[in-house]
């Protein structure tokens, strides 16, 4: 349970981190470390054997939460889950958005993990059962990356590509998550864990910004987050009948799920449908 020996470098700025990645020798297996809450276990189990770690956790600029002119918010990559769980109420952030961020962050693992684990690290790690990938896709977030060729942005919905696979190119660092400020009228987020704080077995989030389409996403499906096609009209057609609504969700989910679950795992299918139904019910309950 001890990592292999490696060198350690603490970066003082994002530029320094990018330069450290670019400057690593050809024989180096260099890794960024943020909170270490996913990398730490992998190091201890020797699932990864880096020669150099570049620590970005203390870079001031990556730990800021800035409200933007459109009342959206820019969250630095090293903002911890606990910082988001503790977002103060008040007029700084649009209320719906702050509620969703607090709720999702507060449901991740345990407080001691949340005090170190970061939003950027979660995204970069891209565990299929992690909470941020599906939540940020549903919230319409954009991920800012910094690399040797400069900065670029990727939509959160296109960021996670599969199991531990993302749009990050070699040498790039996640710099921030940018969330749009348009009003969230109603929202629902549900996940199923066998034990509190454990990684979820099924997860669903639904965001209603008042338009015809709802943003509905599933997480913990074994790969990238999965979008469910759902709109107000279809839901209205099932008004008053819980059974009809479930049937509609089951059909839409079946169409969206990866083949392995859609054709194989009936239990997983049931859990996903149940979480989606509960998330949609939260919306209809108009909170």
């Amino acid at each position: 349970m001890k990592p292999v020996p490696f060198r350690y470098q603490r970066a003082a700025s994002l530029e320094e981190a990018v330069a450290a990645l670019a400057g690593a020798g050809a024989d180096d297996d260099v890794r960024v470390i943020a909170g270490g809450q996913s990398l730490g276990p992998m190091l201890n189990l020797r699932l990864v054997r880096p020669t150099l770690l570049v620590d970005i956790h203390r870079i001031e600029g990556l730990r800021a939460i800035d409200v933007l002119p459109d009342r959206g918010v820019r969250i630095g990559a090293c903002v911890t889950h606990a910082m988001l769980e503790d977002l103060p109420s008040g007029d700084r952030l649009p209320p719906g958005l702050a509620d969703v961020l607090r709720h999702v962050a507060g449901g991740i693992a345990y407080r001691a993990i949340r005090c170190r684990g970061t939003i950027g690290g979660s995204l970069a790690h891209a565990d299929p059962a992690a909470d941020w990938p599906s939540a940020l896709a549903a919230l319409g977030a954009t991920i800012e990356l910094a690399g040797p060729a400069g900065r670029r942005s990727v939509a959160a919905s296109a960021f996670c590509l599969g199991l531990f696979e993302t749009a990050i190119e070699p040498g790039e660092v996640v710099a921030a998550v940018v969330l749009p400020g348009s009003v969230i009228r109603r929202w629902g987020h549900r996940k199923h864990c066998r034990k509190v704080g454990e990684f979820a077995h099924a997860m669903a989030i639904c965001i209603d910004r008042g338009g015809e389409a709802l943003e509905a996403w599933l997480g913990a499906t074994g790969g990238a987050p999965v979008a469910i096609a759902l709109d107000r009209g279809a839901l209205a057609g099932t008004a008053g009948s819980e059974a009809q609504r479930r049937a509609l969700l089951r059909e839409r989910i079946a169409a969206a799920l990866p083949d392995s679950i859609a054709t194989g795992d009936a239990y997983a299918r049931h859990l996903h449908a149940q979480m989606a139904a509960e998330a949609v019910n939260d919306i209809l309950a108009n909170r």
Binding site: R7, C115, G197
Partner: protein
């Protein structure tokens, strides 16, 4: 065994339980191993060593962290409080309550339980049983069945 590359040795300064400590260690050393092996503070226990059991929980600048998956190097210049350094009226009450409610048997989980409970009571002084169970879910106990632990923490809430 391969020797660690020379560059892997690093010098750190930490404030541990209020005392400044200078240590030279390897970059790969966890905060947990540093506390136990270099500073002989063996109250911090290593259980799973991958973040799941909570036995190694300590306070870093006042916030609970898993010492097993926090690199010692990442704590340079910061303040660490272990179970040996917990003090104050709340901690006294909590210790007495753990004894009164039989909240420990073998005691392996207890240091992490106390650190997590202090953090919980400071953040949520009025926590009810559900909140206590949810917030303490990251600390596993093999012996007690949790009832005594929840009762002990509950008796220290402001209700």
């Amino acid at each position: 065994m391969m020797d660690a590359p020379a560059e892997a040795a690093i010098d750190l300064q930490l404030i541990v339980n209020g005392t400044v400590r200078q240590v030279r260690t390897e970059a790969r050393t966890s905060l947990c191993d540093l506390l136990r092996d270099a500073l002989h503070l063996t109250g911090t226990h290593a259980g799973c060593e991958h973040g799941v059991c909570g036995a190694c929980t300590v306070l870093l600048d006042g916030q609970p962290v898993r010492a097993c998956i926090t690199l010692a190097a990442a704590c340079d210049g910061r303040a660490v409080t272990t179970v040996e350094g917990l003090s104050g009226p709340l901690v006294d009450r909590l210790r007495a309550a753990f004894q009164a409610e039989h909240a420990l048997q073998c005691g392996y989980c207890t240091p992490g339980m106390l650190v997590s409970a202090v953090d919980l009571l400071e953040r949520k002084p009025g926590a009810d049983d559900d909140e206590i169970r949810r917030d303490m879910s990251g600390n596993l106990c093999r012996c007690t069945g949790y009832v005594g632990i929840v009762r002990a923490i509950r008796s220290c809430t402001r209700s």
